[in-house]
């Protein structure tokens, strides 16, 4: 068990080092930092002094290690475009993205599992069939189109909900939240549906097919024969045994929710890190791009690690395998 965890942690560190190398190479080889920092009026001496000060004359490996060291301390340099420390910009944008991702994730997991169980139990029902066919269209619609259609319907035609921005936010010092004001909550509705819909359909379809598989098993028939109530059979016996694949997919999908937030944030002009990243790509703001890449990969690697550990917790059989390996 311990060996298994250590091996996974080791692999995660390798992945992070590789991503760090990619991020660092972007700094080193895309554009010239001297060009960005010094204007047209410069002397060769200025250039040399800055090269020395920035450590650009050191060996590649030394520069890489320095970069990693600074990144570990949360120092990603200065944004070319905003001339402020990247860490500060990201820290002020992160709450918006995390709140959006959290709400969408809860929506996707909660509704996805509920609808999945429903469509599996009422397999031949009219409602279940309607839900299943609607979900097929939901999977084929690109995220940004869903967002635009929602804006058109609820923002332009019905005028019920705000179509851009976060609304009023409450500043808690190190965190700004839109969850405490009415306009903040209203602003969250459309973006979180847009972001969560695709993941919800995926989870729903997965839970449904896993449930159908499990419901055919002998132990379910036996549980019914013992006279257990339908609810106990469906939830305590069947649903529990569908959880391993559901946890894998859900975990990986949580990662992509953060990545897909880029699209949703652009559609709704949501002031989060995704919108920041898109602007950075448009204006080739390398420090912001590199920092975002590192941030996202740390999140992904952590999520993957937690998912792997959750398996072991959910499925006791893996504990024995883990010890043997």
């Amino acid at each position: 068990m311990l060996a298994y965890i250590l091996r996974r942690v080791f692999q995660s560190i390798i992945v992070l080092l590789v991503v760090g190398l990619v991020a660092f190479s972007m700094f080193r080889f895309v554009g010239d930092p001297i060009e960005q920092l010094l204007g047209q009026e410069r002397t060769q001496a200025d250039v040399e002094r800055l090269r020395e000060a920035l450590g650009l004359n050191d060996a590649f490996v030394i520069q890489y290690l320095n970069f990693l060291g600074r990144a570990l301390q949360g120092d990603f340099g200065i944004s070319y475009r905003q001339s402020r420390p990247v860490a500060d910009i990201i820290a002020e944008r992160l709450p918006a993205t995390l709140e959006l991702a959290l709400i969408s994730g809860m929506l996707a997991v909660g509704l996805g599992i509920a609808l999945g169980v429903f469509t599996a139990i009422r397999r031949d029902g009219v409602a279940a069939n309607i839900i299943m066919s609607t979900s097929l269209i939901g999977v084929s619609l690109p995220t940004f189109l869903i967002g635009i259609l929602l804006i058109y319907l609820f923002g332009v035609q019905l005028r019920w909900l705000p179509t851009f921005g976060r609304g009023d936010v409450v500043d808690l010092g190190w965190w700004t939240t839109g969850l405490l004001t009415e306009s903040g909550l209203k602003s969250l509705i459309l973006p979180s549906i847009t972001l969560g819909l695709y993941q919800m359909t995926l989870i729903m379809r997965l839970v449904r097919s896993e449930m159908l598989e499990v419901l055919r098993m002998d132990y379910i028939r036996f549980a019914r024969a013992r006279g257990l109530r339908a609810r106990a059979v469906n939830f305590r016996h069947a649903l529990k045994n569908t959880m391993v694949p559901v946890i894998t997919v859900t975990g990986l999908q949580l990662g992509s929710i953060i990545a897909f937030a880029i699209i949703t944030e652009t559609v709704f002009q949501w002031p989060g890190v995704g919108l920041l990243f898109i602007n950075a790509v448009q204006f080739v703001d390398i420090p912001v791009m590199a920092a975002y890449l590192m941030l996202i990969s740390v999140m992904f690697v952590l999520i993957n690690l937690v998912v792997d550990l959750l398996y072991v917790w959910v499925d006791p059989r893996l504990r024995i395998d883990g010890r043997a390996a």
Binding site: L145, F260, A280
Partner: protein
């Protein structure tokens, strides 16, 4: 995994007969029509409708200069007075009627869709072709050679698979923007898109081809080829490749739908096809600005076209997967 080769074998047969499209001998077409694949095609109305829509859209894109009422990117054919014409309603100044209306500069929306479809399909097909070539070659190398080559290729694949492909494409796009001088950016944008989407999508191909190659390389025909002294590249490309192609075909179809959506998404985000060469995604991005003033047609028609294209290619891919039934997962 054990039944993979058999499934692959059976399913390659009818495909093998379909492939030489130039052959005019009627007997070949006859036998292809009677084959398993065509049989399951004739039995599936969904696949037939999807194929019809796909072919229609591809034809429309290819023949765009012939069908389009005017070239939307030739300023000489534009009349600003025609701006914001509603669909099917004669313009209040010029009296001209446009099926799908016009945008702010008087460009016919129908024509821009036809030309946009061209760009979307070009990028989609090229990106998938690029991803397929790269993925199949790397997959063959990894599976056939094994050892450190396999370790390196599959490790890179694993790391890349951790990240959603749209993020990978965005990063490649951002880096390319930094490398390419500003004056070439618009000209190069389409190529950058193709490479970015292609590089973000090769992993699927490589994993499947490697898996199939691992099975195939221990078969008698490969050993026989080796015994008569054929070289490694010849064995990989002429002997193994034809036998691992059918799952590749399925992945390519599904990838095409994903690539078209990825291209539209990137263009929508403003980092894809430039406004001088708008794809469907660019058109939707432009149309979004007019949505709030109630000019819905500038956005809705390109959006509907994109949806029809993505949905029908997706359905075709689903059908092909069920029909060939290679164990993909």
């Amino acid at each position: 995994m054990s039944d993979l080769p058999d499934a692959t074998r059976q399913s390659t047969e009818p495909m093998g007969r379909l492939e030489p499209a130039e052959t005019v001998r009627p007997s070949r077409w006859r036998s292809a029509w009677d084959g398993d694949l065509a049989y399951s095609f004739r039995r599936s109305p969904v696949a037939m409708i999807a194929a019809f829509v796909t072919v229609l859209l591809v034809l429309a894109a290819v023949c765009a200069p012939l069908i389009a009422p005017h070239d939307p990117f030739d300023p000489r054919t534009l009349n600003l007075m025609n701006g914001f014409s509603e669909p099917m309603v004669p313009n209040q100044f010029t009296g001209e009627t446009f099926w799908l209306g016009t945008d702010d500069q008087g460009r016919d929306v129908f024509s821009t869709i036809l030309y946009g479809l061209r760009i979307s399909l070009t990028v989609g097909f090229s990106a998938v072709a690029f991803a397929m070539t790269l993925g199949v070659l790397l997959g063959l190398l990894a599976g056939y050679l094994g050892g450190w080559v396999e370790t390196i290729i599959m490790r890179i694949a694993d790391v890349q698979l951790t990240f959603p492909s749209i993020l990978v494409a965005l990063l490649i796009f951002g880096v390319a923007r930094g490398v390419i001088p500003i004056e070439y950016r618009d000209q190069m944008a389409i190529w950058v898109l193709i490479i970015a989407i292609g590089l973000s999508d090769w992993v699927q191909f490589a994993r499947v081809v490697r898996g199939a190659t691992l099975v195939e390389k221990n078969r008698e025909y490969v050993q026989a080829a080796r015994l008569i002294g054929r070289s490694g590249p010849a064995i990989m490309l002429q002997h193994i490749l034809p036998n691992v192609l059918s799952p590749v075909l399925v992945i390519a179809t599904i990838s095409l739908a994903l690539a078209i959506i990825a291209e539209a998404t990137l263009s929508f985000l403003g980092v894809g096809a430039p406004p001088t060469q708008p794809s469907l995604g660019t058109l939707i991005r432009i149309g979004q600005d007019f949505l709030f003033s109630g000019k819905w047609w500038i956005l809705m028609f390109p959006a509907a076209t994109l949806l029809a294209l993505a949905l029908s290619v997706n359905l075709l891919g689903d059908w092909l997967r069920d029909a060939l039934n290679p164990k993909l997962q």
